[in-house]
Symmetry: none
Subunit: 411 residues, 2 copies
């Protein structure tokens, strides 16, 4: 079922609000096999809303509108839809009572403006909004579905879950859409493409591959789409098995996994503890680790040793090492990780030291040179990386590479 989302609201067009409704709706619709093909944001303006709706209905089987259902003058979606369907506005009695009650419970006057919240075009099926005052509306015309929902995320989500998703899911029992996402780390997008090029070219027509790169990691999403008869779940498994063989060394997670949740799972499953010693990443690695709720179970803490004196005093990196090899060196990275392991009394420690830039680089050690070391009870391992010359990216890539190295070190 081809679907368009129309998000109505001036606040979206001036960038004051990020359109999180669209991504949430798309994700949920996708889950019940409804394809979102267009997402259109337009102003609270009758002409804009009408034209966009007309345009989209040329090809879409369903259009879901959000926003413009409030009681104030700048909200006009309901009037637009009433006119669009040549309908008459009538009072929806259950909604009227619900809204009256809503205001009474809050000790607020139920004025004329708010009365109109209970008006709906007479050709719609009301989606009763238990969690707010604006009713959802479901229209059908010429085999097409048009749904209007409030823009308030909690109300939109309630109505989607309660009515829209189950109704749409019931419509197309014959189509199958599958997705599987694989998280890779340690290989760039173009090299990944090279590595899997033959397999990708040979993918059957029902399959589609997407590359979703971020700093230092790439997600691969394999999608399949067809009918029940096509045996897609099994074929998806087969394709994934082939893919896995090709990129095994770089695979660190799947579906909604992130590097930090993979680390979280490894450490909690194995009852291990972790600490960090950061120079160039400056706390961003620790911050990424503690972004996962419950990380305090295994993450004991870290040292941000931005200065050599701190590397020496708090982590025990020897003055000689710092003098002889410099702060950005295998030796310093290793001593940072080992010092951290001992001082913090943990099972594993990760250390970063590098040149984030924009200054501080040299011919021998240009901006972007980063050493990452991981220490555990069985020793320490360090690797050197070149992570570009853009300070925030160098930091982000250092964090992702550190988590990747840690995951590989744990095996």
């Amino acid at each position: 079922m081809k679907t368009t989302l129309i998000n109505i609201g001036d606040e979206l067009l001036i960038g004051q609000v990020v359109n999180t409704n669209a991504s949430w709706m798309a994700e949920q619709l996708n889950r019940v096999n409804v394809d979102v093909e267009h997402i259109v944001t337009v102003a609270d303006d009758p002409t804009e809303i009408t034209c966009t709706l007309e345009n989209e209905l040329h090809f879409a089987d369903a259009v879901i509108l959000t926003g413009g259902l409030g009681p104030t003058k700048d909200d006009m979606t309901k009037q637009v839809l009433c006119r669009f369907f040549g309908a008459k506005m009538v009072v929806h009695q259950p909604t009227f009572e619900h809204v009256a009650n809503y205001f009474e419970m809050r000790g607020l006057p139920f004025n004329e403006v708010n009365h109109h919240q209970a008006d709906v075009p007479d050709c719609c099926t009301v989606l009763f909004n238990e969690v707010g005052t604006a009713p959802g509306m479901w229209f059908e015309q010429n085999g097409k579905i048009i749904v209007s929902l409030p823009g308030v995320p909690s109300e939109m989500k309630f109505l989607m879950n309660q009515y829209v998703l189950p109704r749409l899911e019931a419509r197309h029992v014959d189509e199958v859409i599958l997705h599987h996402t694989i998280l890779t780390q340690g290989i760039g997008e173009s090299f990944l493409a090279d590595t899997i090029s033959e397999w990708e070219d040979a993918l059957p027509q029902a399959f589609k591959l997407a590359y979703l790169p971020q700093a230092g990691l790439v997600r691969l999403r394999l999608s399949a789409r067809g009918t029940e008869q096509m045996n897609l779940p099994q074929r998806m498994q087969d394709e994934l098995a082939k893919l896995e063989k090709l990129i095994k060394p770089y695979m660190v997670g799947e579906e909604t996994d992130t590097l930090e949740t993979v680390v979280h799972k490894l450490f909690t499953d194995r009852y291990l503890t972790l600490a960090t010693a950061e120079s160039c990443s400056g706390g961003a690695l620790a911050a990424k680790i503690v972004s996962v709720p419950g990380s305090s179970v295994y993450f004991k803490g870290g040292v941000v040793s931005y200065n050599n004196e701190i590397k020496n005093k708090m982590l025990g990196v020897s003055e000689e090492t710092l003098r002889k090899y410099g702060a950005v060196s295998r030796q310093t990275a290793e001593e940072m990780a080992q010092g951290c392991l001992e001082k913090m009394k943990v099972d594993y420690a990760v250390a970063t030291t590098g040149i984030a830039g924009p200054t501080g680089g040299s011919d021998e050690k240009p901006v972007g040179t980063v050493w990452i070391a991981v220490a555990g009870k069985n020793g320490v391992s360090a690797h050197k990386y070149q992570l570009g010359n853009d300070r925030p990216k160098v930091i982000e890539r250092t964090v992702n590479q550190s988590l990747g190295d840690l995951i590989k070190f744990l095996g």
Copy 2:
């Protein structure tokens, strides 16, 4: 100038990625007086891209496309635009050298797939992408502007700031547009609105005020728009002077200042040094400080003492304090800050300790309870805050409040 944004990417249509590019672009375009009238998200599909572009060009003066410029097979925007303009693909030599160099610096082979990153339709003006491998492209046809940018946020932002915004702004020279932004910290949006309500209501017609709230801070942007004759620069000064009187205690910066750049300036101007001791913010405060290039001059380092043992061993918080008052207390925050000051031998130290949630709260100390202490040569000062119950927001607000407290402590 009527503008449409076309964001290309399957990941947006299945809700895997929230379209933050659109809101950022809309906000920036709005700032230079470019009106975004439509934001359309479509698939990485030649027909979709072409049809949407054609449709939007019927009414828009400018169309900005993002996404679909990567080296892999699922990216096809460049080919689509080449065909759309009836152009020929040619190698852009500076980009070719830049991309070759990019790969060489990372010690990576420059393969066939990546060579194509330097291809562009011969009718475009290349917007040289210093921070990535996909060049931006600027087309003009029949008085309309079509711009294609990479979807990677950092690259899109670089090209917008460097080329697209200045060029679009230069198109309407007869108009005067002024903006002034004030950074406030320590007062919520609605209280700020209350405080300046009379002044805001009395603003002349040419003026417009926008509230841009983030976790724990609010930016106020005053804009004025009109003709040369309206004497807007002087009137802007007058309005700002009135505003400043009302909110002086909360003003910490202006224009592009951020809390971390204000801290940066304070510490570099006064030749001071700084260190951090973080519990609930888990490294995010240090990471924010070092996000500013050159911060190594004054930031010596920090301890992430997620665990009480680390608070005691690395920062010298007494076991008695931890037992008697708990980790989330004035006493612990103060001892963390003072311990950090002494151990790291710095002029100032900031400490955070709190409950980021979702678990760990109690009736007495619910989730979101955070103590922040600042220590300097003349003593230590601590404050307690309630920062909500959403883990990432609690962490972000803790960071911003800590920087705000530090700025006020320095006076």
